[in-house]
């Protein structure tokens, strides 16, 4: 039986983990030729902290009852989570080539029934936080010490059901629930702040009764400190870490593009993207 925090003692830095997650994501993107690569590159640092610092889990036993649960509401971010789970040893690297293909365990939008380690079926945006409320109530009823982490997007803050769940989590004092918002300010039709702005975010979540932090989601030290503080908080409140991230982070020529929600990448650019990641590789 493996330990519950298998990667904490590792010599591999979180920066190196994030670099590898980005590389896996780009390789999966190349399989499809386009897709949600920008989100994966942007959120890689947050996932590195989640899977190699914060979460308790056993890579060889994804349904171990003592694990922390990571609920991905944003189904299309599956490419990023697959990359993190490959790096974590939950999924084999050789399945990466099947991403989004017929009969693959790695569908384009994450589903619980398809993939080990994928806790919920996301994709219908605005459902994850509500499911997390039930999960957190259930863990408390069972006397479990585990946490529920729910990753949602800035676009998802437009869904009324997210705010129903936010109110419910605070009402029930769910101090075993940590929400993470990947705020990359990019939705299908444009910047989320121009579609339906949820600002002022920190004040809003605080007013809803949450312990709220907002950090640069591409600053690994800041993310790590925020995750630690969220977990260590003694208040009987749900916690949220809003992570401002940069779409396509780590590949400068993609970062410079405007429309990145479902980014088109030319066939010869995939190798350039990997090369850009390698050039920026942490030492």
């Amino acid at each position: 039986m493996s330990s519950a925090s298998p990667h904490r003692q590792s010599n591999v830095s979180l920066e190196e983990r994030a670099y590898r997650i980005r590389r896996y994501a780009v390789r999966m993107g190349e399989v499809q030729g386009q897709g949600y690569v920008g989100q994966a590159l942007g959120v890689a640092d947050v996932l590195a902290v989640a899977y190699f610092h914060a979460l308790r889990y056993r890579p060889d036993e994804p349904e171990w009852d003592g694990r922390d649960r990571f609920y991905l509401s944003i189904g299309h971010y599956a490419i990023a989570l697959y990359a993190a789970m490959i790096e974590a040893g939950i999924l084999p690297e050789n399945e990466l080539e099947s991403y989004g293909g017929d009969d693959s365990r790695l569908p384009m939008s994450g589903m619980a029934a398809y993939t080990p380690g994928m806790e919920i079926t996301g994709g219908s945006l605005g459902q994850g936080l509500g499911i997390a409320v039930g999960g957190a109530l259930a863990l408390r009823l069972k006397g479990s010490q585990s946490f529920i982490y729910n990753m949602l997007s800035d676009g998802e803050l437009g869904e009324g059901s997210t705010w129903e769940a936010a109110q419910s989590a605070a009402h029930h004092g769910l101090d075993n629930l940590i929400a993470i918002v990947d705020f990359n300010n990019q939705q299908a039709d444009g910047p989320s702040t121009q579609m339906l702005s949820a600002e002022p975010l920190e004040a809003k979540w605080a007013a809803f009764g949450w312990h709220c932090q907002r950090v640069d989601g591409n600053d690994i030290e800041a993310v790590r400190a925020a995750f630690d503080a969220a977990r260590a908080c003694r208040e009987k409140k749900p916690r949220i870490v809003i992570c401002d991230t940069r779409m396509c982070k780590g590949v400068p020529f993609l970062e410079a593009r405007d429309k990145t929600h479902f980014i088109r990448v030319e066939p010869d650019e995939w190798a350039l993207a990997l090369q850009a990641l390698d050039e920026g590789k942490p030492r």
Partner: protein, 340 residues
């Protein structure tokens, strides 16, 4: 045709001139024996034996008969407030952790407001959530906001979901135990308050997925579900006095449908087949039976007793049941007309 709201609504001929009763009132039981809150009391019995059973509601424990459970098991009862989206997504979250969740609200809110949450968070993963929904079909006089006339049509299309429409207190008790034992999501239509209790006299046993022949007869075959089974049983007694011999096949499980029993009963030649349901004639049991029979090449004379494809009037339930053909008088009149 909708009238101008500035015109008075003239009383309709023959209307009894009743008043809308409280929305929460029990369905009129017309002198039949009754039992109080059969769902809630049965759930308490089950919860005494099983600690995996939890109850959740969206501000309707009182009006969905969940209150006995809330009082007896406060640690396992979750008041989610007037928030049906989080009610059903949180129910999914609890079921993920191994609990058997009974989540209650009105049928309109489950089927209309929370559909996507029931679909994706619960049914897609076949989680163990039992949706228990009061005020199904036409069981309130409050008008379309509370009349779930199309809930079966909405839910029949949802894969993995079992759908049950019990007809009386005995059946609610037995069905509650059966769905608690069933692995997977269930939508159960609920009659609440003082619920008529009739099926015990027929030696009835509810079995999930099974239709039961309650009465045989050579002229008419009623295929019925929900409280309409009580109505057609009564109609059958009255019609017998006119030498019209009616059989009643009760179909409490709408999905999966007991197609074998339906084909066998409707395949007996010479009978008018009348499907009776507390639901719009669109997308409910009637269409399910018609599809079954056509697929099997069984083509008896076929009629539907059900609600029209319309937003229904507000008013008193007995008036509305007469107006829309669900009362015993209306059932008898329809059958006589069809046999003439």
């Amino acid at each position: 045709m909708r009238r101008s709201k500035y015109e008075a609504r003239p009383p309709q001929a023959g209307g009894p001139g009743l008043k809308t009763s409280a929305m929460i009132a029990s369905l009129g039981t017309e002198g039949l024996p009754t039992k109080p809150a059969p769902f809630g009391h049965t759930l308490c019995e089950l919860a005494r034996q099983r600690d995996d059973i939890v109850g959740m509601t969206a501000d309707l424990s009182k009006y969905t008969d969940l209150y006995p459970f809330a009082e007896a098991f406060p640690d396992r009862f979750f008041q989610m407030g007037m928030a049906e989206q989080v009610l059903f997504s949180a129910a999914a979250g609890m079921a993920r952790e191994g609990f058997t969740v009974f989540a209650t609200t009105y049928a309109v809110f489950a089927s209309r407001r929370a559909y996507d949450f029931i679909c994706m968070a619960i049914a897609e993963e076949s989680l163990n959530v039992k949706i228990v929904a009061a005020l199904p079909g036409l069981t309130t006089g409050y008008g379309p906001s509370h009349q779930a006339t199309e809930d079966l049509a909405i839910f029949r299309g949802l894969p993995n979901l079992t759908i049950v429409d019990p007809c009386d207190a005995t059946e609610i008790e037995q069905a509650t135990a059966a769905i608690a034992d069933h692995q997977g999501p269930v939508y159960m239509r609920l009659l609440r308050g003082n619920v008529a209790n009739v099926l015990a006299d027929y030696g009835y046993r509810f079995e999930l997925g099974k239709a039961k022949l309650l009465r045989d007869g050579g002229d008419v075959l009623f295929v019925s579900t929900g409280f309409m089974t009580l109505r057609v049983l009564e109609a059958a007694k009255r019609l017998a006095k006119d030498s019209v011999d009616c059989a009643v096949l009760h179909v409490p499980t709408i999905k999966p449908l007991d197609t074998a029993a339906i084909v066998e009963a409707a395949g007996r030649p010479g009978r008018l087949v009348v499907v009776a349901e507390n639901h719009t004639v669109v997308g409910g049991l009637g269409e399910g039976v018609a599809r079954t029979l056509l697929t099997e090449g069984v083509t008896p004379r076929f009629r539907q007793i059900g609600l029209p494809d319309a937003f229904l009037d507000a008013g008193a339930l007995p008036t509305l049941h007469d107006r829309y053909g669900l009362s015993v008088d209306a059932v008898c009149a329809s059958v006589r007309a069809w046999l003439d």
